[in-house]
């Protein structure tokens, strides 16, 4: 089984993740989940998300991955039963109490061990397997040797992060946020103190900020090692990021399965992903220990991205008119691209923009304004329009 697993911070993102090719999503409820300050899912949202997923043959995993304090336990038993009743496919947990509680309650959902447990070796994996854990989300620090050894010794389902932000610390082994901001990192309050700068004795500031993870160049090898689920980080990310990243990995995995992946494909997807990222990325621990090249030394170095220009809401195939919701400034004469899950990416020059009053306008500069473009090639609802940044056209 090879699964592409996407983050979903709310129902809209869940639907986009599936639309753009995810096999499963992981979500957080309003309690007991890290990312405590995200919008997250109510039980009604979870039910709707599960129903939406199952109708399409896809899966939903719910994170119950805080480290519990005495005051947090109230209601968790009822919550787990409710998730089971809703038909959630698995819970992602890190506290041994929840691993054992799920078994005691006789739930039919699977228990997946969170990366917060930082499993790095086959013996630790066996410990959890004997307690009924079906899948382990390996520590982001796991190298290919460790992945291979764990698979060989346990034959468990293995899930690995392939894309997104990295902690500087082993996950779950950091309370810097607790110390500096009083926000408990292991209950979802992480303030990302590892992205701060610190005074050192020298004139330089001390920084330990990690660059992001990007495993595009190692996907084939990871599949051969026996990794089952390829996980993208980012429950706080927007729909454009999710669509771009998930579609890139979807196309890549499909090409690997069909044995048609080329080095040029890899290079292209890498460029697309680098463009949508707000930090540089590397393969981190997969081949060797990261060096100074996989870190930043001047604090946060992030760029915002205004490539996402519009979302296709409708397409009139008879008149070849696309109804588009604006997301970033664009104007007549701009070179743009359309991409989506059921089409080949194509370039397009904007010759005319019409607003919802039927008037011709030169620029689309209001967030969420509705405009109409004449686009000859067919589009579908939820395709996206982005700034054209590459000359070379490939089939994304």
């Amino acid at each position: 089984m090879i699964e592409l697993l996407a983050p979903a911070g709310d129902l809209e993102k869940l639907k986009f993740a599936f639309h753009y090719g995810a096999d499963a999503v992981y979500i957080g409820g309003q309690n007991f989940s890290l990312r405590a300050n995200a919008k997250n899912f109510s039980l009604e949202d979870i039910q709707e998300g599960v129903s939406y997923a199952h109708k399409r043959g896809k899966k939903v995993y719910v994170t119950v991955n805080i480290i519990f304090h005495e005051e947090d336990v109230n209601g968790v038993e009822e919550y787990l039963k409710k998730l089971d009743e809703i038909g959630v496919d698995a819970i992602i947990v890190s506290d041994l109490y929840i691993v054992k509680l799920a078994r005691k309650l006789g739930l039919s959902l699977e228990v997946h061990l969170s990366t917060q447990a930082s499993v790095l070796n086959e013996s630790a994996a066996l410990f959890y397997k004997k307690l009924g854990v079906k899948r382990i989300v390996l520590a982001r620090e796991a190298s290919k040797e460790e992945i291979a050894a764990i698979k060989k010794a346990t034959n468990l389902d293995l899930e690995c992060f392939v894309h997104g932000a990295m902690c500087t610390s082993f996950s779950g082994r950091c309370v810097l946020s607790n110390v500096i901001t009083n926000r408990d990192a292991n209950r979802g309050g992480c303030a990302q103190v590892c992205r701060f700068t610190f005074d050192a004795q020298e004139k330089n500031v001390f920084s330990m900020t990690s660059k992001d993870l990007n495993m595009i160049s190692h996907m084939n090898e990871m599949i051969k090692l026996g990794v089952n689920s390829f996980k993208v980080e980012g429950r706080m990310r927007g729909i454009y990021y999710i669509a771009t990243v998930i579609l890139s990995y979807r196309r890549l995995i499909d090409k690997i399965k069909a044995n048609t992946l080329t080095k040029e494909d890899e290079a292209y997807y890498l460029r697309v992903l680098n463009r949508v990222a707000n930090r540089e990325s590397a393969s981190q621990f997969f081949e060797s220990l990261p060096t100074e090249k996989e870190q930043y030394f001047l604090g946060r170095q992030e760029v915002s991205n205004q490539d996402f220009l519009g979302l296709v809401l409708d397409y009139d195939s008879e008149n070849k008119i696309a109804k588009i919701e604006q997301r970033n400034y664009f104007k007549v004469e701009d070179q743009v691209e359309f991409f989506g899950p059921n089409m080949e990416t194509f370039s397009y020059q904007i010759h005319k923009i019409e607003n919802d009053q039927g008037e011709n306008i030169e620029i689309a500069n209001h967030p969420n304004m509705i405009v109409y473009l004449k686009v000859d090639k067919p589009l579908q609802k939820y395709d996206m329009m982005r700034m054209k940044v590459f000359d070379k056209q490939r089939n994304l």
Partner: protein, 266 residues
């Protein structure tokens, strides 16, 4: 005081106090310690400390130590549950003490682990009220750190080496850094297996000397002058207070959900 004391030695030696045992950081398997010990160096019936997450090579190497562990070791304090699994598989009869730094914060979690092992050491990021409640509800006696530098972060990266290489600075393995807004300082300690950030102030927990249901008090002498430890022990036994120390999170409750705008945190 009937509870056992586990003392992690620093670079200076300390005479054992009543009912105490040395807990030796094991060479190649521990991190963040100035002084580490091989199994050959430690006396029989000692406790060993493995405070690292282990990789595949470590696991293979640890398995070669099992005969000597069975012969010389009374108990193992460990961070990686793989250690427990190997000891069980090989039927090695030693006391098993789990100490994951930040992952044991409730009696429910404690009791779940206690079904699998002899005892656990509580996390260092809970309040004294939480500790008291856990002690009341724990199914077996449990341990706690009472003295030493608190570890706040553990990375597999060599953070000091990376920083020093980047700026062409001489390589140091210990460095003090300061977060400029909060003024909080950290002691960064790197060795070949990664980096630990410690609180440079020494942590003292004097609240539970007479409490029941405690298996071990842990005293960590890493990077601490011996005269300070002796003073702490004297004062502790007399229940006196001392300045220039930190109580960590004993009197400081953390939050994890930001208050809504215009309202208070629920």
């Amino acid at each position: 005081m009937n509870n056992k004391i586990l003392i992690i030695p620093g670079t200076n030696t300390l005479e054992k106090v009543t009912n105490s045992y040395f807990l030796f950081p094991l060479k190649d398997f521990s991190i963040g310690y100035e002084k580490k010990f091989t199994l050959e160096e430690i006396p029989n019936h000692s406790y060993i400390y493995i405070n690292r997450l282990l990789d595949h090579e470590d696991i293979l190497k640890f398995q070669t130590l099992l005969p000597l562990i069975q012969e010389k070791v009374k108990g193992i304090v460990f961070e990686d549950l793989g250690i427990l699994e190997i000891l069980r598989e090989n039927k090695i009869q030693v006391e098993t003490i789990f100490y994951p730094s930040h992952a044991i914060c409730s009696s429910y979690t404690v009791n779940s682990y206690l079904e699998e092992m002899d005892t656990v050491i509580l996390s260092n990021d809970i309040t004294k009220e939480e500790i008291q409640e856990i002690l009341t509800k724990a199914s077996k006696p449990i341990g706690m750190l009472i003295y030493g530098h608190l570890p706040y972060m553990y990375s597999r990266r060599t953070l000091l080496t990376n920083y020093e290489k980047n700026f062409n600075l001489p390589i140091q393995k210990v460095k003090k850094i300061k977060e400029p807004i909060s003024k909080q300082e950290f002691l960064v300690f790197e060795d070949e297996k990664g980096t630990i950030l410690y609180d440079p102030c020494v942590y003292e927990n004097r609240y539970f000397l007479s409490a029941s249901n405690i298996s071990y008090f842990l005293i960590d002498l890493n990077m601490i002058e011996i005269k300070n430890v002796k003073k702490f022990l004297e004062e502790w036994l007399k229940n006196e207070s001392k300045n220039n120390t930190t109580s960590g999170f004993l009197n400081r409750k953390t939050i994890y959900r930001l208050p809504p705008k215009g309202g208070k945190n629920d």
